[in-house]
């Protein structure tokens, strides 16, 4: 998996609409392309992928549902909504979006929709109904977003549009650093929780009997999951399906469930998958860029269909 990630990172840096021979001594221009455009972009893509995969994994564990994920459950849309709201507001009042503001805004949105889903999840126990609920929450958020966009200034709309498609094209170093650091903090936090998460996977009541503070753990899982997807959404817009597809594929591949092994694997695989999708988005119709979500959806959505179809009959929705 490390090799896969390395290869993807290499391609990501080496290839682009302008061909650069990275093995030859670099010209100033090429060096700028590599260090100021491609490297940050590669880094951001990798880190975002890792964050989304871990965020998805937390949600799946929390809801005991393999197709829970930040995108399908409307969490990304929630983050997007508050981001748009904040952007329009700030831009309209003549200011500009800082990294911190972006993250705070999208984190608030992510938490908002997560808790909405959470409230719903107390009422409906069925996996598919919960999924539909998530999609509905997503639609509501999107509708609000559209509403804001319709009445927003033209200038903000342009930047909004590019952002809302999802992608790493805006990656630049200072912002990227912030994102990378935040994601690393988030992932580290999750990694430290791997023992109680492992117990939680044995069942809530059982975990409680082992002395796990289940309520506290659940709250942490939700906060970390929202935080991770919020950071990604703040920098790259809503990216679809990575949170579902990567954990599913990784579990299939390594046949392991212990969080202590699974989480590192998810980080690597999430990064590799997203980089790969980003490369496809950039290069397939180069120099025209596809939106990242288009590519991740193309690879990720079939995985969701596959999970749903592959579930054994009579298996209980819990």
């Amino acid at each position: 998996m490390l090799v896969l990630l390395g290869t993807a990172a290499f391609i990501s840096v080496a290839a682009g609409s302008v061909s650069v021979n990275i093995f030859a001594p670099l010209s100033d221009n090429d060096s700028m392309i590599i260090f100021d455009i491609r490297l940050p972009r590669t880094l951001l893509a990798a880190v975002s992928g890792a964050a989304l995969a871990v965020s998805g994994y937390l949600l799946q564990t929390f809801f005991r549902n393999p197709i829970a994920g930040p995108y399908v459950m409307g969490i990304s849309s929630g983050a997007k909504m508050t981001m748009v709201l904040a952007m329009t507001f700030v831009v309209a009042s003549g200011g500009s979006m800082t990294s911190v503001l972006k993250i705070v805004a999208s984190f608030a949105g992510a938490l908002l929709s997560t808790f909405l889903i959470l409230i719903l999840s107390f009422r409906v126990k069925s996996m598919s109904v919960l999924l539909v609920a998530g999609i509905m929450v997503g639609y509501i958020c999107t509708a609000v977003t559209e509403f804001i966009v319709t009445f927003a200034d033209d200038t903000s709309i342009i930047s909004l549009h590019g952002w809302a498609q999802g992608g790493f094209s805006s990656a630049a170093f200072p912002g990227t650093y912030t994102a990378v650091i935040l994601v690393l903090i988030g992932i580290a936090g999750v990694f430290l929780m791997s023992k109680p998460i492992g117990a939680y996977m044995q069942g809530e009541k059982y975990a409680e009997s082992l002395g796990v503070n289940v309520r506290g753990l659940q709250l942490l899982m939700i906060i970390f999951s929202s935080f991770l997807s919020a950071v990604v959404t703040a920098y790259a817009g809503p990216v679809s399906f990575v949170g579902i597809a990567v954990p599913f594929l990784v579990k299939k591949l390594i046949k392991q469930s212990r969080p202590i092994i699974l989480i590192p694997a998810l980080i690597l695989a999430g990064a590799a998958f997203t980089l790969f999708c980003d490369i496809v988005a950039r290069l397939l119709f180069s120099p025209i860029e596809l939106s990242l979500s288009t590519v991740t959806a193309f690879f990720g959505a079939p995985v969701v269909l596959f999970i749903m179809a592959g579930r054994k009959r009579g298996q209980r929705d819990e």
């Binding site: 393999p66 492992g198 117990a199 996977m201 044995q202 002395g211 046949k255 469930s257």
Partner: protein, 633 residues
């Protein structure tokens, strides 16, 4: 404090609804306690309170003497493991992974099991017989295997207390038994026994495997005690609001069981009971047009027998009903085991119940039996049972007339050749004798074992006096002549008089009294210590010998030789005026035989009864003993 679990004054519930109130109980170390009761009685709530997953509204739970609220989270899970019903998917988890989750309270920050942990995990997996499953995915296992793995997970916590909610749910009978045996073995093991506290719905499991049963109804403790004391139909019927008969039916499918030491013996039912069941079925068929699914009746001994009819038919335009029931002799197969008894019933207007024997039922040809010559060999006890059962059918259907009942037995004539009937002068078929209506298992070793258990029990209560009796006649007499307040206990010893005396001697009894039917005990005078007729008879010989000793003429001795029952012999002795003298001779002979058997450290006496005349005689020592004990003859 020696109690492993102690609950005092527990009240608990959810939001404002109180489910449990004033619960007090204690469980000792290494006990397996089953919690039973109707749905909604508060079983689960109680388990959750003890497992500290629900805080009690009032009262305290102590685990090995410590208030559970004062135990820290992880320390609590080192003492107490739980297994609740909720099923969780364990995607990609191997059984080893699942079991290693049980080491949670012992492992470090990242939960990586160390060498010692792995050893414990492997040990509990071997113990629960799932070691070979360790690399398989948990989700792919059968329910029974899953349950074993989950129990292993709980045991991996090295707990002192194991709390399980309905562990038998989802399991088939085989797995249920396997699981219960596993739980019993961890509870009863020598080294670090695990106290098991679990709820079950299955009364069999609760009855067979628990050390004690805790019954909960309407949020209160209904009963708490040993299974043999509380798993009784009258208690269960109150617990579940279900009729006693239904409980008996469910608890005793295909026969009634008696516990002998650690083994269960199946008790059958007599031919008389079989005939009564068939008669009830036939009467019901006649009166309602159908035979009930289960034919049930309480035997004179007070036990419920419940069976299905083999076949039934309405004949002669619904005027004659026949119903057949198969006899089961239980674990004491005799010649009549499996015999099909048919009852043919007609209504009559006289209002009486007339009983006769048909094909396969013997006829009396010699005097001295319960019935007169020419009558069917169905004694008065079974006649009474048959009469009662058809009258019950009449009462249930508002019928006030009488019945003509004819009992017949398939292959009765053939089977009777292997019985004592030819010698007793009963010809043409089997006889229906019956006293208690129940055939108690008579497998020899088992019976001696039963006697041993019974005597030990009596001795363990500190008694040094005991009465031995072969059967029902003696038992009835004891109940009359020995005021229960005297505290004299008795043991049924069947034909095993000699064995029973040996056991009394070995058990340290000081005074032993033998009370029973003359027909049996008289054999002791001839030196027979096992009075079963297949070992020794010699009754006429004993009576004849003693009559001759008293000067009875040869003619009298010859007459005695022709009799089939001791009662008839008594009449002859009377006729020749030697009854008293001969009786004394017989009693003295019995006394000396008994003393020889009993040895010097035990006083022994005997009292002989006949059905017709009551007390036949008491040996000198017997009279002395009864007087000393405060009994009345």
């Amino acid at each position: 404090m020696s109690d492993m679990i102690k609950a005092s004054g527990i009240s608990a519930g959810y939001s404002k609804k109180t489910v449990l109130e004033g619960i007090d109980f204690a469980v000792s170390k290494g006990e397996l306690i089953s919690l039973i009761g109707p749905n909604g009685a508060g079983k689960s709530t109680l388990l959750h309170v003890v497992a500290r997953q629900l805080e009690a509204m009032a009262g305290t739970v102590y685990i090995s003497g410590t208030d559970i609220r004062e135990i820290k989270g992880k320390d609590f899970s080192k003492k107490t493991a739980v297994l609740f019903t909720a099923r969780t998917r364990h995607e990609n988890e191997s059984c080893f992974d699942v079991v290693s989750a049980g080491r949670y309270p012992y492992t470090g920050w990242f939960g990586i099991p160390e060498k010692a942990d792995i050893e414990i995990i492997e040990q509990v997996m071997r113990e629960t017989d799932c070691y070979e499953l360790r690399n398989l995915l948990f989700d792919n296992l059968s329910d029974g295997q899953k349950q074993r793995v989950l129990i292993a997970r709980a045991l991996a916590q090295c707990p002192e207390v194991l709390i399980l909610d309905e562990p038998a749910a989802f399991l088939d009978l085989k797995y249920q038994i396997e699981m219960m045996e596993l739980l019993t073995s961890v509870a009863h093991r020598e080294e670090s026994p695990v106290t098991v506290f679990m709820s079950v719905h299955d009364l069999f499991l609760a009855n067979s495997f628990s050390d004690r049963v805790l019954m909960v109804k309407d949020g209160k403790i209904y009963r708490y005690g040993l299974p043999q004391d509380v798993m009784k139909s009258e208690i269960l019927s109150g617990l579940y609001d279900v009729s006693r008969e239904k409980i008996e039916e469910i608890m005793n499918p295909g026969g009634i069981y008696e516990r002998v030491g650690d083994k269960k013996l199946k008790i059958g039912y007599t031919t008389g009971t079989t005939a009564s069941l068939a008669s009830y079925g036939a009467a019901m068929l006649l009166l309602t047009g159908e035979v009930p699914d289960k034919l049930s009746l309480y035997t004179p001994g007070g036990m419920l027998v419940s069976v299905s009819a083999e076949s039934s038919e309405l004949l002669e335009d619904g005027k004659l009903a026949v119903c057949t029931v198969k006899k089961r002799a239980g674990d004491d197969p005799d010649v009549t085991d499996g015999i099909k008894i048919t009852s043919s019933v007609r209504l009559n207007e006289s209002g009486t119940v007339n009983i006769d024997g048909g094909a396969g039922i013997g006829r009396v040809t010699k005097p001295g039996l319960d019935r007169s010559i020419g009558e069917a060999a169905i004694n008065s006890v079974p006649r009474k049972m048959i009469t009662e059962s058809v009258i019950r059918a009449a009462d249930e259907n508002g019928y006030e007339g009488g019945f003509d009942v004819v009992i017949s037995a398939e292959d009765g004539a053939v089977r009777a050749k292997n019985t004592m009937n030819p010698y007793l002068g009963i010809e043409g078929g089997i006889s229906i004798l019956g006293t208690s209506g129940i055939v108690e298992p008579m497998s020899e070793r088992a019976v001696v074992k039963t006697i041993e258990v019974a005597l030990k029990q009596i001795r363990s209560e500190g008694a040094e006096r005991v009465i031995l009796t072969p059967g029902n006649l003696g038992e009835d007499f004891i109940k009359k002549c020995m005021d229960p307040k005297l505290g004299i206990r008795y043991a049924r010893v069947s034909n095993f008089i000699g064995d029973a005396i040996e056991l009394c001697k070995a058990g340290g009894f000081k005074e032993v009294m033998l009370i029973g039917h003359t027909g049996k005990l008289i054999k002791i005078a001839g030196g027979a210590m096992n009075t079963h007729s297949s070992y020794a008879d010699g009754r006429q010989e004993v009576i004849g010998f003693h009559a001759a000793m008293c000067g009875a003429p040869a003619e009298c001795i010859k007459k005695i030789g022709d009799q089939v029952t001791t009662e008839a012999c008594v009449d002859i002795l009377k006729e020749y005026n030697v009854l008293e003298a001969a009786t004394q001779g017989i009693l003295d002979a019995i006394q000396s035989r008994l003393e020889r058997k009993a040895g010097e450290n035990m006083r022994i006496g005997a009292l002989l009864l006949t059905r017709k005349y009551g007390v036949f005689g008491v040996t000198d020592k017997g009279r002395e003993l009864i007087k000393e004990w405060g009994g009345e003859i």
